[in-house]
Symmetry: none
Subunit: 201 residues, 2 copies
DNA sequence: TATCTAATTAGATTATAATCTAATTAGATA
DNA sequence: TATCTAATTAGATTATAATCTAATTAGATA
């Protein structure tokens, strides 16, 4: 369950103008100027909102002469809404894994918490990559949040995911492999289950 | 489902700190200071987020001595998430009610679509004002798009708005009043919410 | 090539909201 | 009553994002 996906989805739906755009697109595809007139805002504002909606993957476009028609990306919309529902249902059932560490000793837990608090800003950005192995691994493990075991990822998807934490995706992606958090086959990345992670030594 | 409920729900879920709070509360009820420590933010920031979550109806509280325990309001959470999913599914099925008309029959929706397609050009201009009451009202209601309930408008603003659809703003503005879509007080115009619109007869 | 159209970008303004520190409040308890 | 604790409020700072105007761009077409 990707925290970031959920947040982006909800950000996209948390503005009345965007909701109204989606509602209009639900009836039929529309081009920017039509949307602008309908909603009483300028075309450049439409462009702004469309960029947000596109970032969240909620719309697609089709060009026809000079006109670009926007329409709903129905699959993504439904998948994300369903994901939110599942997230909540899991929470309600107490199955939610907040930080993903299972069965970890208490003192180690505390150390982890301390390290994460030091290296991440409150809104979840990595301030810097720790040098010490142990700390570095705590930080790497935190950045696995949002990736799913058993799903295949393109290199670019991994990069984008890492960039939500820190711009140096190349280093971090390499570390993911080194420590056995992920493996790569033919450009396709997959997350390893915890029992395949390399042991500290 | 009111537009505003949806937006408040998504606003509540569009901040990483609040999502993390909800995830922690999903495990077990927590008090403010515990949440603050866990997330590395100050208690006053927790208070701030709790107020947001309470506004959205997503949490409840229980006092025990000096300590206030927060927990999930599971019913609301699930209901709102489900409502969003329904909102989208309806959109996808073309049953979307754009402007808050609830319980409208499907055939009426279809008729409305047909009328609007006939009387408006693809880029949203009104070709002519329909003579039949029912059709005329469909068309008038469409031209309310872009106006906001609860905002005050000068007569000139209304005129300009109407002119984006059709040059005869005087007739159309008058019809807005007649049918209860708007009311005028002292030269100031305000849009009525749908429940104040005159019924067809 | 010149011109038209729809869209986008750049840059500014403004509104909203996340966060903090310092002060205050509401209850509990000695 | 005096004091302690957890929470809240007030007020400031800062970041984010919604919106606009003016300028620019990308394609289409004459």
């Amino acid at each position: 369950m990707q925290l970031n996906r959920i947040i982006n989805f909800h950000k996209a739906l948390s503005d009345p103008t965007r909701i109204r755009i989606l509602a209009l697109l639900a009836k039929e595809p529309q081009h920017g100027q039509a949307l602008a007139e309908r909603l009483g805002i300028t075309p450049s504002t439409i462009t702004h909102h469309m960029a947000r909606l596109r970032d969240a993957g909620l719309i697609k476009t089709r060009r026809e002469k000079n006109t670009i028609y926007f329409s709903l990306e129905e699959m993504t919309l439904q998948r994300d809404a369903q994901a939110t529902l599942n997230f909540i249902l899991e929470s309600v059932n107490g199955l939610m894994k907040t930080e993903g560490e299972e069965g970890m000793s208490n003192s180690r837990e505390k150390e982890r918490d301390r390290v994460l608090r030091n290296f991440f800003t409150p809104d979840g950005k990595l301030k810097q990559i720790p040098v010490q192995c142990k700390k570095r691994r705590f930080v790497l493990e935190r950045m696995l949040d949002g990736l799913t075991v058993g799903r295949k990822y393109l290199e670019n998807e991994i990069n984008e995911h890492i960039k939500t934490f820190h711009p140096d995706y190349a280093t971090i992606r390499r570390e993911f492999i080194i420590w056995g958090y992920m493996y790569r086959d033919n450009g396709i990345y997959e997350m390893n289950p915890p029992e395949l992670w390399k042991r500290e030594d």
